[in-house]
């Protein structure tokens, strides 16, 4: 808890005249245990609109758990989680643990998307259907309009001619872009990447870099969980170094990766360079 760089965190539970100033992702004091083992020990993290934040750290540091809790696939057992003005979870009123708000959860789900490490595309649906199914089924959007928008989205990602294929006919990099299109079709405010570049060659990694920057320019908040320092350094506005369930250090890529102040970061980076 001692080495964390402090940032001023607006509290979403206070009243704001406008929500424009609220961070897209707000996490405060988040904890998570599995049995006796505390995996997250009080995480503070914010991702603002138009900002790319990478969460890096050694395996076992809690990156996956953090991402699973952020995407509501798992639950924190303490702290606060909010997406903009949607407060999903806050400390329980009786002071014990955390309280998830049932009604906020579906709202929050519409605010973020995630590109899974192995994409988890729907293999039985075409590329276009992968992109348009959820808007049609979940958001009840107009089918025809959604399909037009879906094709346009696929075109922007260079997948226009693959729209009517099924995922297994595409390369890994193409499948990843389908997963991105699927997430973007829901009009999220936040997009998470789980190991964005682990399966990509240098050329595709460069493309991914440009895509992420473009998303951020368009106002998207981007959260990337990765152990690839190079990509994190190049693409991020801020980097949070997660070590043993704590954010040991946080700042610009130059600060954290170029001139780390925390000995654990230094040790990890020294090893990563070997």
């Amino acid at each position: 808890m001692t080495n964390r760089s402090r940032i001023s965190i607006p509290r979403p539970d206070q009243s704001f005249a406008s929500f424009a100033g609220l961070p897209a992702v707000y996490v405060h004091g988040a904890t998570k245990s599995f049995g006796d083992r505390q995996v997250l020990r009080g995480i503070d993290l914010i991702i603002n609109k138009g900002e790319v934040v990478s969460i890096i750290g050694p395996s076992g540091a809690g990156k996956s758990t953090l991402l699973r809790c952020l995407t509501l696939l798992d639950r924190f057992d303490g702290g606060t989680l909010a997406y903009g003005d949607v407060v999903v979870a806050k400390p329980a009123s009786d002071g014990s643990g955390i309280e998830y708000d049932r009604e906020s959860i579906p709202q929050a789900r519409m605010r973020f998307g995630i590109v899974f490490q192995d994409y988890n595309l729907f293999p039985h649906r075409t590329v276009l259907q992968n992109v348009t199914d959820a808007p049609i089924i979940v958001q009840h959007r107009d089918r025809a309009k959604t399909e037009v928008e879906g094709r346009e989205l696929l075109g922007r990602l260079g997948l226009a001619e693959h729209a009517d294929k099924v995922p297994c006919q595409l390369s890994g990099g193409q499948q990843q872009r389908v997963a991105i299109a699927r997430a973007l079709a829901m009009h999220p405010k936040v997009i998470y990447f789980d190991e964005a570049t682990s399966a990509l060659d240098p050329r595709l990694t460069a493309q991914m870099h440009d895509l992420v920057r473009e998303l951020a320019r368009g106002g998207m908040a981007v959260g990337i969980v990765t152990h690839e320092m190079g990509f994190a350094r190049d693409v991020s506005d801020r980097v949070a170094f997660l070590f043993d369930g704590e954010i040991a250090e946080e700042g610009t890529p130059e600060e954290v990766l170029g001139n780390p102040s925390d000995p654990r970061t230094r040790a990890f980076l020294a090893r990563a360079e070997d």
Binding site: R109, F112, G113, F116, N120, D133, I137, V166, M186
Partner: protein
Amino acid sequence: MLGMLMRGYGVSLQIFFVTLLGALPLGVILALGRLSRFKPLSGLVALYISVMRGTPLMLQMFAVFFAPFYIFGIRTGSGYMYTAVMISFVLNYAAYFAEIYRSGIQSMPRGQYEAAEVLGYSAPQTFFHVILPQVVKRILPAMGNEVVTLVKDTSLAFSIGLAEMFTQSRALVASQRSMVPFALAALIYWVTCLVIEFLLRRAERRLSYYHD
């Protein structure tokens, strides 16, 4: 002779189709019950499946046939014979189908559920849009085996006295002192199975547009 056999075949086909119509959806319900996190329910369904698969269909058929009278004292008409066969076949086959569905559902990777969950799918939406269509492809070969077995199992209704094709062929063999009715019945069963296998192969081909 052929007329009698074909009348019997009609009854066999009725048993066949009614069983499929009843057992295919009932199997889904049983499979979901079996996979329920509510322990008493999943335990009860597991027991049901175990009993249905662990006792002879013929015995189940007789049990259903005699139960109204011996347990409830109700006199059933002769039409009940037919109903009893249908009920026991549906109950029995639903148990087998449920196990196939269950194994198919459990073979689905976690990631499919998680992708659907993050996209906001409700549990029923996830099941009907994501899981079930993929499970169908995975279980088609196993279902094919069961369906072919069902064609031949319809002959079990002979033991209760229902005039399906095997019953008819046996009567013909006795009255005409000839094996020909058996040969013809065998041929008809076999051709029926060939047709089913053909249809299943076509279904498999139609679902081969993707692999996972």
